[in-house]
């Protein structure tokens, strides 16, 4: 909450001509935006580039933000739109090798080996990448960024029920993918 209040003050300062206040905004938000973008695109270089573009766009357009208290959803919306643009531009070519991951994980490693935590983390990230963009962004925002459904609805400018529905199918789809890859951890073995 404190962060949001701080951002409100900084945005107001920037809009009133205090240009260096933008540096404080960047300091406050860069890690969050970078984390979100990285989880969405799963590419370190792209994440750096899109994070930077997000702040360049924010610098250019912040004057048009009528409600400074809504900076948080606004900056995430900017980042999300740039991620979607990047996916469209790249034609998803760099993410088409997801099938190779399943071959790699399912056939060459035993389930026990796969249970190693670092590999599990990697597999989860890859499983996340198998989701359609509109489901993945909701799962990232909900599961990792901790937004509520109304907040995600505001960021994505989609009805709340649509957001919940995408979350539901996203979770189900991730579960199916992990089971298909023979990830039989205690977490997924609910019987």
């Amino acid at each position: 909450m404190e962060t949001k209040d701080d951002s409100y003050i900084l945005v107001k300062r920037f809009q009133n001509g205090d240009i260096p206040a933008f540096n404080l905004i960047v300091d406050q938000w860069k890690d969050k935006i970078h984390r979100f973008v990285y989880r969405f695109l799963m590419d370190s270089d792209d994440a750096n580039e899109i994070t930077q573009k997000t702040f360049i766009k924010a610098y250019q357009k912040l004057d048009t933000l009528d409600e400074p208290e809504k900076f948080s959803p606004w900056i995430y919306r900017v980042a999300n739109n740039l991620c979607l643009d990047e996916l469209k531009r790249a034609g998803r070519s760099k993410f088409d090798s997801v099938d190779d991951w399943s071959d790699h994980t399912g056939k060459t490693k035993s389930p026990q080996q796969t249970l190693e935590m670092n590999e599990l983390s990697e597999l989860l990230q890859k499983a996340l990448m198998t989701l359609p963009d509109e489901q993945r962004v909701v799962v990232v925002m909900k599961q990792y960024e901790g937004f509520t459904f109304p907040e995600i609805s505001e960021i994505l400018q989609q009805p709340e029920n649509t957001v919940k529905s995408r979350m539901y199918y996203g979770l189900k789809s991730m579960r199916s993918t992990l089971i298909n890859w023979n990830i039989q951890t205690d977490y997924l073995n609910h019987e």
């Binding site: 260096p20 960047v26 994440a47 750096n48 935590m117 983390s121 990230q125 997924l188």
Partner: protein, 224 residues
């Protein structure tokens, strides 16, 4: 919204603890009466728990540049500034005007001086002293104040204009930089794609040659 969708949405609210206590209680009753629904919820909860409990590795953020004002100052300093900025033009115009006045005055016999009525500026002889009183001191002060106010307004306007121009230049620079990165990236991708295509073609020809050689060898062995 169908009943199924409604249940799915409420399941999400329940899973992420976004239901009011009364709604939560109501949904728990539905769960008790439906083992299938309870099983589905448990499975979703397992996936949610797995995602929450597994630490993810996020690489460090490496910006090319981020500090706007400081960097912009550096950029401004590094950039070759045009000599004829609006302020410089104004200064030059004033200097040129003063020079013109001096040249003009020397050619036309202009004289400046002070009389009892105040300063005078003439071409030729100085004005005859008149006994009538002119404008009062208060009026003069008022005029001076008015001129001062006008000059302040003019200067403020010039400074604003200069500031706007510098902001525009900076924005343009950022836009060009972003475009440059885009272009460079696209060129790299095209180059890589071309390389892969060439490699594929070469590999295809080598396979063909190998197949032909093997075919010849097999034929030679089977028909001695």
């Amino acid at each position: 919204m169908s009943k199924k969708e409604d249940i799915q949405n409420r399941m999400m609210d329940y899973l992420y603890n976004e239901l009011e206590p009364a709604q939560r209680e109501e949904f728990e009753k539905i769960l008790e009466s439906s083992p299938d629904l309870q099983k589905e919820l448990d499975e979703l909860r397992d996936t949610h728990t797995l995602l929450s409990s597994t630490p993810s590795v996020i690489p460090e953020y490496k910006p090319a540049f981020l500090t706007i004002s400081n960097k912009s100052d550096e950029n401004k300093a590094n950039k070759v500034k045009p000599f004829f900025t609006p302020i410089m033009k104004t200064v030059l115009a004033v200097a040129a005007s003063i020079l013109l006045v001096f040249f003009g005055s020397s050619l036309s016999g202009m004289e400046m001086g002070q009389s009892e009525q105040g300063f005078y500026l003439t071409f030729g002889n100085p004005p005859v002293q008149q006994t009538e009183t002119g404008i009062t001191e208060a009026q003069v002060l008022e005029i001076v104040e008015q001129m001062h106010a006008e000059q302040t307004l003019l200067l403020t306007s010039l400074l604003d204009q200069a500031q706007r121009q510098q902001n525009e230049q900076f924005n343009d620079m950022i836009t060009h930089l972003a475009d440059y990165y885009d272009d460079r990236r696209e060129q790299d991708l095209i180059m890589i794609a071309d390389g892969i295509e060439q490699l594929e073609t070469q590999t295809y020809h080598r396979f063909n040659r190998t197949n032909a050689a093997l075919g010849d060898l097999i034929y030679a062995i089977s028909n001695p």
